[in-house]
Amino acid sequence: MLNVSHLSVSYGTTRVVNDFNLALAKNEVLMLVGPTGCGKSTILQALAGLLPICEGEIQLGAWRATPSLIVPPEKRNVGMVFQDFALFPHLTVEQNVAFRLTDKTPADHWLALLGLEQLRHAKPDTLSGGQKQRVALARTLAHEPAFILLDEPLSNLDAALKDSLRWEIRDALKTAGVSAIWVTHDQEEALSVGDRVGVLNGGQLEQLDTPEACFCRPASRFVARFLGEASFLPGQLEQGRVSTTLGAAPAAPVDGASGEVDVLVRPDDLSLVRADNDTNGTVSWARYEGGTQLYAVNLDDGTPVKVRVSHENRVEPGERVRLAVITTHPLAVFARTQSSV
């Protein structure tokens, strides 16, 4: 499938993507996630041939693109779903979907499958956001590309729609049996939809792995923080177990960390009870989340941690609490740094 090696892209003298490597498997949905400005959209543009690259190589089937060997977008057999949908405003839904098709069967197939039958003759500006997104997806899939790039396809839609459309898109991609690179800044979207997740930071790929691995065994503190609430507890690593002031747990060292370490704890790795003795922290704020309650607690040694517990458990800010590590799965541990708090 698609192979990308040592890809770098610059705008003027600023390098926005640096030494990016990727091998996309067949039928795989790969999520690229990162904060604004991390270069994720730039990577898509470069893969589609819409931006010149300054180093590296992109290869798919018969074609190979390098900085000097330019393959124009129309020769790449790539599909792209744009953030603003990019539907042609002067063409109907049907004409959009069948834009370059001589045989219209795939267009009919995808119009039917995505529930657009009624809208065949509508113009794009009469459609709702969700409908536009489906048309854009149908257009891309009907042209039967070798792989598909999705550039934050849900960012222009409202929250309720996002959730259902996310699965609709994934199902459509899987039905078509086409591999895809899907860019998002939403970590929840990335973890739930992707077969693999790539986390980008400042133009560099920090980790590329399954969602579980990225979440539980992050390659860096950045990945740990980006993919969810993360607290770091000081601890000692000995023989595969790490002991902290809140108890011990099995450990998964990152980059060969040993001895004095910081342990990554997610809010649900800890328990919290209000107590009068044997306490080890003070609640600084509480946030009601419906089914659960999130607490920020300052431990007595000064470490701030976050804990998520059932909503039945009510503690007010300022009250003393006892925290304990309750997880049985291995916790990621990082080598201690000076600025580890």
């Binding site: 589609a48 041939g49 129309e74 599909g79 953030q83 042609f88 834009f99 370059r100 257009r139």
Partner: protein
Amino acid sequence: MKRWPRFYPFALIIALLALVPVGVLFVLAWDAAELFDARNLEVLTNTLLLMVLTVIGATLIGVPLALFTAYVQLPARRLWLIVLAAPLAMPSYIGAFTLYAAFGPGGEIEALLGIPTPSVHGLMGATLVMTLYTYPFVLLTTRASLLSLDAGMVNAARTLGLSLTMSLWRVVLPRVVTGIAAGGLLAALYTLSDFGTPAIMRLDTFTRVIYVEYNAFGLSQAAMLSLQLLTIVGLVLFLESRVKATSERPGRRLTLWPSHWQAGAMLAAIAPITVLAIVLPLLIFTVWLLRDGASGFELSYAWNSVYASLLAAIAAVILAVPVAHAAVSGRAGRVMERVTYLGFGVPGIVMGTALVYIGLQLPLLYQTLALLVIAYVLRFLPLAVGSVRATAEGLDSSLMQAARVLGASPREAFMRITLPLTLRGMIAGGALVFLESMRELPATLLLGPNDFETLATYLWRVYEAGYFGRAAIPGLLLVLMSGLGLALMLSGERRGVFDTSEDHRH
């Protein structure tokens, strides 16, 4: 690595062609006897006086009207705006001709009503006419600035105890100074390049004297005067480029509800302007039509106008497409586009002088319709470029990318996406060029082939020969053309300027 956008070569060639007339003038002026003499000083003084007085007049009329159309709630607001902006669409020589004929001893007013009126001619006459036809520039630019202001400031000033008039003076006007300046400079440019009004009012400005020199076979002297005029135009354009548009966070606009007598007083103050600029010319032409009928007029004049203007419109749109698309693709393209705008600053009489010389050097073009069409295209290309560019800018770049990713070559993407989506701008631009060419006078006088009479040149001959009555048909047809031009401005890309709805669109 970067590729040279594909429209650049075409745009570059067109930009270079736009530079030719100015180059030609330098070559021509080389032979001129005098660089500058006492006569020149007089011409320069007249030109600058007319320009300054016109700008003052246009500001005095335009700014109050801008406040009126922007803030005062009256029935039929949009209609008032259209009526007040209408003189912009009329060629000023129509006004100069009819005002000249109407006023003074033996004028139409005295002949018909027996009321003696002072004659309208010379510097004061030219100032009056130019003011009547340039105040809409100030009105429209100032109004646009006013509409972008938030009413909160005025309301705050009034709750702090300032009267409405004082709040407008101290809080509103200081913030629209750039809008007023922009309109004033446009009025100045229009005045500098206008030929018909000073010629009819017998005021020796550059444009009139250039025409006199041309008729006296002093082509190189005409070129020298043209360069002097271009220098002043250049200075005004430079000033215009320094006027920075200030943008404020848009907010709710101020609305004033006048009482009945206030509204009546405002309309009474406005009426004389509209009467002089629009009603009087129409009345005079109608009187002439009733008195003299269509004598002397031939349909071929109208056909010649249409034919030459249509050719110019088609050529301008074809040339405008690469320039406009180059302008949206990069910085170098914008420079090329700016160069083609040069023609707009070159007064018609100056363009005519330059192209007459080119005709003399290239017998192939001498006395041909092609030369006249070239002059129209060089002068009015910016109108077409502006229209096409406005629609091209509105195009989302991801549409082109989407077409490319779906497998279309750049050519196919351009033909199937860009062209259909910019068609509106192309048609609007072509129509603007057509209407401007229909009304163009000085370049047509200089470059029209022998016996090629158009509506505008026929009107001029009638004026020169003193058979005023024969101006009725061409005059009314030209007013009709102006009306169409106005309708086009209202319906087309510039709609926003005339928009009176509460939520101002962009």
